[in-house]
């Protein structure tokens, strides 16, 4: 152990250069945003009605998305974590399905949602014909688009936490006579709670920043589907200062949420 520790510290200077560059790549654009921000006019820019409207819509839809993702995503994470006993092909297929929305361009996700739930979509045409329900261009569409893009973050975080947790506690509880629900409620859930919190926060912030799938599937209308990222994009075309102000709000909310992520939760994210 001491040998290993020494070797690690010896590596440190060589690590600092690429690591520093990596940090610069991530941080400098955001620093530019802060530097170029029109601080003096910020209060007036942010006091505009449309800004507050877009912010409220974004916070509301992102919160709903997180709720939906918790209700549906935690069970999926459990299934995924327990899929180790499955055959390789269904197991890998399911994992790929959960991961694909993370790497897919969100616009493609939006197109896919339109083709499924649009008025002429595979399912959407029946929703329209039988129930008179049309989803595109509604706030529901915003939540659906955000869920498609953001839920995988929660699922993978929770799955990592479940895999990292020691199953022997559950087995011990079961041998002591606890039924499955009690085991889940009293043992499994407390063990993976940090993973769930971390996943929910990541899911919330990703939903807050969602743009491509939303503008494609839900369109853009103030107060209904025009979320903060879409409002930022549109402002950039006419009033860059206002766009920077909006971007700062989004950045601030995301940073506040992410800083509240405790370090000990993070190992659950990588698995």
């Amino acid at each position: 152990m001491p040998v290993l520790a020494r070797r690690r510290s010896a590596l440190a200077p060589a690590l600092w250069v690429p690591a520093g560059l990596a940090l610069a790549v991530l941080a400098l654009p955001l620093a530019a945003l802060v530097v170029r921000a029109p601080w003096a006019e910020l209060p007036t820019l942010l006091a505009q009605g449309p800004v507050a409207q877009a912010l409220m819509l974004s916070l509301g839809t992102a919160a709903l998305t997180t709720l939906v993702s918790l209700v549906l995503g935690v069970p999926l994470a459990l299934l995924l974590a327990r899929s180790a006993e499955w055959r390789a092909i269904p197991r890998r297929l399911m994992r790929a399905l959960v991961t694909v929305p993370l790497v897919l361009p969100p616009v493609v996700g939006g197109v896919a949602l339109l083709l499924l739930l649009g008025r002429r979509g595979v399912i959407g045409q029946w929703l329209d014909a039988w129930f008179g329900i049309t989803i595109p261009f509604t706030t529901t569409a915003v939540v659906l688009a955000q869920t498609f893009v953001a839920m995988p973050f929660l699922v993978l975080a929770v799955e990592g936490a479940i895999r990292a947790s020691d199953r022997r506690f559950e087995i011990a509880a079961a041998t002591l006579g606890a039924n499955r629900l009690t085991v889940f409620r009293r043992v499994t859930l407390p063990l993976i709670a940090p993973g769930i919190s971390a996943g929910a926060l990541l899911c919330f912030t990703r939903a807050l920043g969602e743009f491509g799938a939303t503008i494609t599937f839900a369109g853009s209308f103030p107060g209904v589907t025009q979320t903060l990222p879409i409002a930022t994009y549109l402002q950039l075309q006419t009033d860059p200062d206002a766009a920077i102000a909006l971007a700062l709000v989004l950045l601030a909310v995301s940073v506040i949420v992410l800083v509240s992520l405790k370090d000990r939760w993070v190992p659950g994210l990588s698995s």
């Binding site: 616009v107 002429r120 261009f137 494609t216 853009s220 103030p222 994009y233 950039l236 860059p240």
Partner: protein, 281 residues
């Protein structure tokens, strides 16, 4: 419905391309340009390098056809296009995007660039365009005129008012005294069109040329007072790095830029626009 099902993948691809504002690299997939009538030895001097053109979304098909015809004369020149909403393109240019030629869909968006002293010379209007009501094939919403835009049960898409087609739409609706029950304000005219093509929207206001370009998937309904909403498209060459006091160091190919604009204004170029439904300047 059968035809609609068959069209869907194509429409989806078009949607992806339109929304991502794909940078096209002179690959003219669209309408074959007119046969190269090599009349004179007007351009014996071949152009080389890369020419970057930022153009309004509504010029996507015509500029791609123009590029093909232009490339036949200058095979060594690489044309790079960035199509998108004019106001967004103007912002990108002001923020320092590398570009040689800017073709906007309105004088207002062009002014963003000329006000920033980035234009080399005066912008020239090279085509005009007018708005038309566009509905999906078969007109499922039973739209007959602008008055139907006020019906809340119909799904209506317009361009965001900051982009030229949106500004023109606002004018048209105001003059008709219609308060539209709008469901979505799209970021450029192509986004409106693709949502109509997909059948997600009952009616929208787009350019006449877009209705023509969309083929069978979209039907156009002439506006009674369309003359009120004629859009003028200016084109301009941007200042290059050799220009004293230039704040745009990226316009790299002034010779090719001038030749391209000449070609756009030439009879061959104008014919391509005319075929696509544009009006003469």
């Amino acid at each position: 419905m059968g035809a609609g099902v068959k069209k869907r993948p194509i429409a989806a691809v078009a949607l992806i391309a339109a929304i991502t504002g794909t940078v096209m690299t002179g690959c003219a997939l669209a309408a074959p340009g007119p046969a190269p009538s090599e009349t004179a030895t007007e351009n014996t001097r071949t152009l080389t390098g890369t020419l970057t053109v930022f153009a309004a979304a509504s010029l996507t098909d015509t500029f791609t056809a123009i590029a093909q015809a232009f490339n036949e004369r200058h095979p060594d020149l690489r044309l790079v296009f960035n199509f998108g909403g004019s106001s967004g393109l103007a912002t990108q240019i002001v923020e320092g995007a590398p570009v040689d030629v800017f073709a906007a869909a309105s004088g207002a968006t062009m002014a963003t660039v000329t006000d920033a002293a980035l234009a080399d010379g005066e912008p020239v209007v090279f085509v005009t365009n007018s708005l038309e009501i566009a509905v999906p094939a078969g007109n499922p919403g039973g739209v007959t005129g602008l008055a139907d835009f006020a019906k809340p049960e119909l799904v209506i898409a317009l361009c965001e008012p900051v982009v030229p087609c949106g500004a023109a739409s606002v004018t048209v609706l105001e003059r008709a005294g219609v308060v539209a029950s709008v469901d979505t304000l799209e970021q450029d005219v192509r986004a409106v069109l693709t949502k109509i093509e997909l059948g997600e929207v009952d009616a929208g206001l787009v350019y006449k040329t877009d209705v023509l370009a969309a083929g069978d998937a979209v039907e156009g309904i002439e506006l009674a007072g369309a003359a009120a909403a004629i859009g003028r498209y200016p084109i301009v060459q941007l200042v290059d790095s050799a220009n004293p006091g230039a704040t745009n160091p990226s316009a790299a190919n002034p010779a090719a830029a001038a030749a391209f604009i000449d070609f756009v204004l030439s009879p061959i170029g104008q014919q391509i626009f005319k075929d696509a439904g544009f009006g003469a300047p």
